[in-house]
């Protein structure tokens, strides 16, 4: 577990609110990432930097390419062109499991809780460097028993924090949708990542749990982790993000603090359509 780096909270004040702006201490830098499917351009990001230790939101209308972009950054998909690096380390062609080992862990839009494993097993799975996961050593339990006990301790601590401890021996399939989201986030923490990428962590979660999730995300920042998350819930975005990036039709159209982005005309038009302010009757002929 690394020492929390000092968070430069003022970075939001000193960074230019333009798409692709440079950050004072970027943990993730991406250049000219493009992904086409047949004739359709899903992602076309010219330049992006994510500030270390910040909570950055990635927003945009449906189909803007946010999840595709996530897939590209974490190695689940290969871009047609572009380069990107994490902590200065180039990630082109690095498979997803290695990306995770380097410290960049992601969650999924459709929760991937492992249903036929129990909650505690889900958690224990997340730990890195497990000796018992080697095929040869697995046959000799004394070689991994001690480490397994440590892992369980860590897991129960996180589960207690996430208020899932009572469910630890239940199958993940028995949890509610919101609890599975929590589990996925908790499990990601077991990997001890530097950067956590959450794909719609609030989707389908009831308001009570939402607050809890928000608190956990803030905790991540306190521990020195960087968070990049995709969301549609604007209140939430406003409440916890230090920085917001807006994507539409595969491109980054705006960046800035939550307040500046919310008022950005381009952003509003991207979400609501260019003619949202006009009278309906005037639209009917053209429609």
């Amino acid at each position: 577990m690394q020492k929390p780096k000092s968070i430069d909270a003022s970075f939001a004040l000193t960074t230019s609110p333009t798409p692709g702006s440079a950050k004072s201490d970027p943990i993730l830098v991406a250049d000219k990432i493009a992904r086409q499917f047949g004739g359709l351009t899903a992602v076309n990001v010219d330049h992006l930097e994510v500030q270390r230790g910040s909570i950055t939101a990635l927003i945009g209308p449906n189909g803007a390419g946010k999840t595709t972009f996530f897939n590209l950054l974490t190695g689940y998909d290969t871009p047609n062109s572009g380069t990107w690096s994490f902590n200065g380390r180039a990630l082109n062609g690095i498979p997803p499991h290695k990306v995770a080992r380097l410290g960049m862990v992601r969650t999924f839009q459709l929760t991937k809780a492992l249903y036929r494993l129990t909650v505690i097993e889900n958690m224990a799975l997340g730990a890195r460097g497990q000796k018992g996961e080697s095929v040869l050593r697995s046959v000799f339990p004394w070689m991994w028993r001690a480490q397994e006990a440590e892992i369980r301790e860590r897991a129960t601590a996180i589960l207690t924090n996430f208020k899932l401890i009572e469910k630890q021996d239940d199958f993940a399939a028995a949890l509610s949708g919101g609890q599975r989201k929590l589990l996925e986030m908790a499990r990601a923490l077991m990997v001890e990542p530097e950067m956590v990428m959450l794909d719609e962590p609030m989707a389908g979660v009831n308001p009570a749990l939402k607050q809890s999730l928000l608190e956990h995300i803030k905790e991540l920042r306190t521990e020195g982790k960087t968070v990049l998350f995709v969301e549609h819930d604007m209140d939430m975005v406003h409440e916890i993000s230090d920085w917001v990036i807006v994507m539409a039709q595969g491109e980054i159209i705006a960046e800035g603090t939550p307040a500046s982005v919310m008022g950005n005309q381009q952003v509003i038009e991207a979400y609501l359509g260019a003619h949202h302010n006009e009278d309906l009757s005037a639209n009917q002929e053209g429609a």
Binding site: F37, T67, N71, Y76, D77, F108
Partner: protein
């Protein structure tokens, strides 16, 4: 892909009217009539055939050990009047020859080593041993009472045909094989596309078609030209309509998973295969008509008239099927359902009707494929199984779920299987095709015409 079939099928809008209910009553009645006729046929069929086979079973019990085999040409047609000389211990020496069905056998009374030598001069033009130096096969009989089957491998005639001639002949053979595979593959691909079912029992539809034809022509003694269309219609009805209605549709309604259905189709294939063996025996049977038809020399190629006729009809069927898929309303609906069942259903297409149509069409085509093979080479209970892997190879090669892909893949597999014998021994020709399948899957998993799938 998750298949979410809309099971609240849209029934005919006519049901509320009198004419509508009359229509559905007639359909129901006709169906009952038709299916009872089918069942009657099946019953008489089974008793006739089993009478045949249990008679020979009684014979077998009384005779001692025999060495036996079938000598067939490189395309599977039987070779009659080929001599085999058998030499055994204690001065045993006997000469036997193959009968009209290419079969020979010799009774032996002692244990020991027997040498069987085929008389190569008896082999007709264009047929020869794959290795002329290996004309003697050795059999070690260490236990009496166990009959041994021996093999003389026949391949393309060595130095009896030029490479050009052989290539041309093999190319034509390959196209015909491709046609046969294609007829079956089209149905398999469409069924997979519309229901998600990988049907491991599809090959048995061919076998069943061949058996129907055999029964109609050899037992009921209808001329083949009359029996064949009847066989195709019966096959379309039984293997298509009935199979979907009484097996797959109920399973889909219960929400049975796709892998579970795949395993069910495997069980069905095993059951049917041994059922056919039970009814029919293990031998390859020839139709009474056209069995030893002589080939015509057309250019570089030797082809029998029956082969030409069955192939041409097969091509017509494919053209008709393609026309159906491209032009008729039902055909277009099938392609829509194959592409995206949920969306098709949401736009008002009666998915159940489409599935029914696809099954009937697919089964009809596959039945005809069985007819082609039976007319040209005879029918055996293993016919379907032998084809099945090639059919899967063709469908996968062309792209699972696409009709065009199935046809393209079939042609390629058929041509490859036959042309490969220019370079590798005939008996390994399927191996070549399977290796190609594996290579293609590695390089381009979606097949030639398939669409790449997105992750996440």
């Amino acid at each position: 892909m998750e298949i979410a079939l809309n099971l609240a099928s849209v029934t005919s809008k006519n049901n509320s009217s009198l004419i509508g209910s009359l229509k559905s009553y007639c359909r129901h009645f006709l169906f009952l009539k038709a299916s009872s006729i089918a069942i009657l046929i099946l019953l008489s069929f089974s008793s006739a055939i089993s009478l045949g086979s249990s008679a020979s079973a009684a014979e077998e019990a009384a005779t001692p050990t025999k060495l036996y085999g079938t000598i067939s040409g490189k395309d599977g047609a039987p070779l009659p009047n080929i001599g085999v000389a058998v030499i055994g211990p204690e001065g045993f020496a006997k000469d036997v020859a193959t009968d009209a069905e290419g079969k020979w056998e010799v009774e032996i009374l002692t244990k020991g080593t027997f040498n069987l030598t085929i008389n190569q001069d008896d082999l007709p033009d264009g047929q020869a041993l794959t290795d002329p130096t290996k004309s003697t096969v050795r059999a070690n009989v260490f236990m009496l009472g166990v009959d041994l089957r021996l093999l003389f491998p026949i391949g393309p005639g060595v130095a009896k045909a030029s490479t050009l001639e052989r290539s041309a002949q093999l190319a034509v053979d390959g196209l015909i094989l491709g046609l046969i595979i294609g007829l079956a593959a089209l149905g398999l691909s469409l069924i997979f596309g519309t229901t998600g079912l990988t049907n491991f029992a599809h090959g048995e539809i061919l076998t069943f078609g061949g058996l129907l034809l055999y029964y109609l022509s050899a037992i009921i003694k209808l001329p083949v030209l009359v029996a064949a269309p009847i066989a195709v219609l019966l096959g379309a009805f039984i293997s298509g309509f009935l199979q979907d209605r009484y097996l797959w549709k109920p399973l889909r309604k219960r929400g049975t998973g796709l892998i579970a259905m795949l395993v069910v189709s495997i069980g069905l294939a095993i059951f049917l295969r041994y059922f056919f063996l039970f009814l029919f025996g293990g031998d390859t049977r020839q139709l009474p008509q056209y069995a030893g038809q002589a080939g015509l020399e057309i250019g570089l190629v030797n082809i029998t008239p029956k082969s030409i006729l069955t192939t041409v009809i097969g091509i017509i069927f494919i053209i008709l099927a393609t026309f159906w898929l491209l032009r008729t309303r039902m055909g277009k609906a099938s392609r829509a359902v194959s592409d995206n069942p949920a969306l098709a259903s949401a736009s008002g297409i009666d998915v159940q009707k489409v599935i029914k149509a696809v099954w009937i069409l697919g089964a009809g085509l596959a039945t005809y494929a069985g007819v082609i093979v039976t007319v040209n080479q005879g029918v055996s209970f293993l016919m379907g199984q032998d084809m099945l892997l090639l059919i899967f190879a063709a469908v996968t090669l062309g792209g699972l779920g696409t009709a065009n892909g199935a046809l393209v893949g079939s042609l390629i597999i058929g041509l490859f299987v036959q042309l490969s014998t220019l370079f590798i021994p005939t008996e390994l020709k399927y191996v070549g095709a399977l290796i190609v399948l594996i290579i293609i899957l590695v390089v381009r998993p979606q097949g030639i015409l398939g669409k790449k799938e997105r992750i996440g």
